[in-house]
Symmetry: C2
DNA sequence: CTGAATTAGTTGTTGCTTCAACTAACACTC
DNA sequence: GAGTGTTAGTTGAAGCAACAACTAATTCAG
C-alpha cells in the first residue's frame, strides 16, 4: 500500500503541534517544581483528589483520571504519602481496593500551588491566543480526543457531562 | 495580587490541551517502539540528520533542532552509535565540536520507520480534523510557540524561512 | 463449596532524563 | 603569550516512568 504523505498545511500544523507537545510539559513542570516542589503529575493527582467527594478516590479511578498506569500511580502516591500530602487506606466495600484521600497538608499544597499554576497556564497558553483561537482550540481538542481517548477515560477532565460514563 | 481565574471557554480549551499533551506522546512512542524499535525522540534525531546536508550535524545544532539538552542528546547519540545508526567524529573546523552523521543503517531505519509513523500521525491527528481545523491548528501553534519558544530554537522545524536566524 | 479467572495493587528492575561537575578547546584582553 | 572567560561536549549520579512479575481479594461456573 502506498503511503500517503502530508500536504504542506498538514505538515505545518503537525510540526507545530509536535513542538508544543514537546515544550509545554517542561514549562509546566518547571514552574510547579520551583514554586511548589511538585511535578505536574503530582499536582494533577492532588488536584483530582481535591475535587472528588470526601477528597477520596480509589486508586484505579484516580489512575484513569490522571491517565496513569496503576504501577505509576502506586509509586507516586507512596511518595506523596511519605510527604504527608495523601493518605491511603483499604476500601471497606472491596478488600482488593485501596482508597487515596487528600490529607490536610495536601489540600494546603494544592491551594498554595493553584494560583501560580493558573498564572503559568494563562501566560504561556491562553494569553498568546485570541478568544476565537481559544474556541477553535476547544474544538480541535475535542476532535483529537475522539481518537486519542476513544473510551473517554479522561473525559471527566475535559467534559463534566460525560463523567457519569465511568461510574466504576 | 488577585489571581485571575479562567473563563469557561478557557478552562475547556486548556483541559483538552492538557489531555492531548498527556496522551499524544504515548501514542507516537508506542507505534515507533513496536514498528521500528525507536523512541519518538530517537526517530526525530535520525530524521533531522537525514534531512541535513551530508546527513551530518554538529551536536549543539542537533540539540536545538530536537529541543534536547546537550547531555540528553549526548546520551542518546552514544546509544544510537552503539547500535550502528549514527557515527560521531570531531569537527575539523572547531576542535571543541563533535559532528554526528547518519550511518547507512540509520538511513535505512528512518526509511523503514517513516511510512508507519506518518500513518500514525495521519490517523491520530490529521484525520479527525477538518481542513479548516488543520489551518487553525497551524495558527494556534504559531501563537503558542511565540511564548514557548521565543528564541525560535525549534523554528527550523516549523518554519524554514526563519532557520537562518540561528546561524551558530 | 471448590477451583479458575478476573480485578486491584504493589514491588523490583531497567532505561531514559535531568542536574551537576568536569574536561577540553577556542576567543579575547592586556 | 599568559590569563580569563566562554563554548562544546562528556560523564556520573539521582529520580521518575514503563514493564513484568507477583500477591491478594472477588466473582463466577459447575
Amino acid at each position: 500500500m502506498e503511503t500517503q504523505w502530508l500536504t504542506e498545511d498538514e505538515r505545518a500544523a503537525w510540526l507545530r503541534l509536535v513542538a508544543v507537545v514537546e515544550l509545554l510539559p517542561g514549562v509546566l513542570d518547571s514552574q510547579l517544581r520551583a514554586d511548589a516542589r511538585l511535578t505536574h503529575f503530582e499536582y494533577f493527582v492532588l488536584a483530582m483528589l481535591s475535587e472528588a467527594p470526601e477528597r477520596t478516590l480509589r486508586m484505579a479511578v484516580l489512575a484513569q483520571r490522571t491517565n496513569a498506569t496503576l504501577p505509576r500511580l502506586s509509586h507516586v502516591v507512596r511518595r506523596l504519602e511519605g510527604r504527608g500530602l495523601v493518605e491511603r487506606f483499604p476500601c471497606p466495600e472491596d478488600g482488593r481496593a485501596t482508597n487515596a484521600r487528600l490529607a490536610a497538608a495536601g489540600w494546603d499544597a494544592v491551594v498554595a500551588a493553584a494560583p501560580g499554576h493558573v498564572d503559568a497556564v494563562r501566560s504561556h497558553v491562553l494569553e498568546p491566543l485570541t478568544p476565537a483561537q481559544v474556541k477553535q482550540l476547544r474544538g480541535i481538542g475535542d476532535a483529537l480526543l475522539t481518537r486519542l481517548d476513544p473510551d473517554g477515560r479522561l473525559s471527566g477532565l475535559y467534559d463534566p457531562d460525560r463523567a457519569h460514563e465511568n461510574p466504576s
